[in-house]
Point group: C2
Chain length 284, copies 2
């Protein structure tokens, strides 16, 4: 994106020079219940926004499996601190084997018309980072490639050694971003509510000297439902900050400036794309 | 550190070219019970290694407060998802006001003799990153400055707007690293065991539309003790990987290479210093 010719940029520059110019109101985007998943864990409810615009086949298969009750009673069987919580059906079971294999959707090709809200150049793992439709992404203009990035709370499909070997097992990073998995895994959604419950999923991997965790104690998925299939009175309806707006661009500028007396010495004007919290609100 | 003249580098280069050369055994460093804190939460036990070599005054004051029982019954009153779990005595209480104010220890000066185990150049927030004594650090040779970095699980002292205004309130990042707080806060330790319990601390900050959390429901600190004051049979004794060894340097080289068939396409040879898990084991 050539920021220099975008109206947003003119606004941002004004905002950069004059804090009082930064006052656009947050615009909200309602998540469609057809595109949202409710995962119920023993410790609480988790809401996941799906990303069909980026990973259509994965979202289609995941949604179908959710509707079929595939994940109900599944366990988080591979949970490693600072890495991921991974769940799915019993490995090698009939239920597991019945699921079709997916082709990887780890990145997409960009063209001249393609745009996003840039966070910054000079990222460690990409030429640019930013947001599109509320998702943290990375972009290499030199390759005309963009991809969703592994921030805490993204949901991605696990796979074997082959690129095209994912089926239904999924994982959610529970600590520091796993950016080195970008482009070689398919991210297909993100947790928008209840991340604390994902982080509380029982670790299955222990350190040397600790007793192994009995698989009966693994955290189960009580149920996984498309939000549109949840009875109206139990639905959790979420709105998220629209990342394609002046207000959001302003927020990025403000965040980079750290124009607050708490920052008695200003940090470098750097934004880690995985450390830009997006505003979320509960409609009901 | 000029890696080119270090024996470790020669070894690493051999290891880089020839995987079979990478086979040094992990060397372990036992944490001293006098330098380790046991924080008991309702959901489990957390062990913190202190860093007196980097932040002597903060460690001295924190240890003294721990011994006096200052933190017993305190609450985590500011817990924000993807940010921090912050705890301490009731704000403005006599107990709170009685604690002396500390001078910030956010960074230190390096000289020619100073060395560390480098992870890499070209970090977003520093000229170099690496490890020293098991702690993730950053280093700007041009400024002769180094500092502990805000990775998930580091423990740091909260403060007001003034640099020298910390006393006893502390925080632990619970999600993506907060590198923008580096150098302007004092990190004085890190969680080496039980991070899942820190991540499970009840969020006190809710989103728009959610009911506020009653302060009676905030997660309490059941007790905080120096490990040396814990009865022997209840002590949790931890050993951590020694980061000043050939074996650790080899691990960094291996991790950067991603020499595993799972990586059918290799990621960039980049290591985020906060995404280098350190080995830990339980002695008893």
């Amino acid at each position: 994106m050539k920021l220099a010719i975008q109206p947003l940029y003119v606004f941002s520059l004004a905002c950069l020079l004059l804090t009082s110019a930064c006052n656009a109101e947050t615009e909200w985007r309602a998540l469609s219940p057809e595109n949202t998943v409710l995962m119920t864990l023993p410790q609480g409810k988790v809401v996941i926004e799906l990303a069909p615009q980026f990973s259509p086949s994965h979202v289609q298969q995941f949604s179908k499996l959710v509707k079929e009750g595939h994940y109900d009673g599944n366990k988080f069987y591979r949970v490693i601190d600072g890495f991921v919580a991974q769940g799915g059906p019993e490995d090698g079971s009939a239920k597991d084997k019945a699921v079709p294999i997916l082709k990887i959707e780890g990145e997409w090709t960009t063209d001249k018309k393609w745009s996003f809200t840039k966070v910054q150049d000079n990222d460690l793992f990409a030429e640019q980072t930013g947001f599109k439709d509320g998702f943290a992404i990375a972009h290499n203009p030199s390759e005309k490639a963009a991809w969703l990035t592994h921030c805490p709370g993204t949901i991605a499909m696990a796979r074997g050694n082959e690129a095209d070997s994912a089926s239904s097992h999924f994982y959610i990073p529970n600590g520091q971003a796993l950016r080195y998995l970008d482009r070689i895994m398919t991210i297909f959604g993100r947790v928008v509510f209840g991340m604390e419950h994902v982080q509380a999923i029982r670790r299955t991997s222990v350190i040397e000297g600790q007793p192994a965790v009995d698989s009966r104690d693994f955290t189960p998925i009580v149920s996984m439902q498309m939000m549109s299939d949840v009875p109206k009175e139990q639905q959790i309806l979420i709105e998220v900050e629209n990342t394609e707006t002046t207000a959001f661009t302003e927020r990025l500028v403000k965040r980079r400036k750290r124009d607050n007396p708490f920052f008695y010495k200003k940090p470098l004007p750097v934004l880690d794309v995985c450390q830009v919290p997006l505003k979320t609100r509960l409609v009901k």
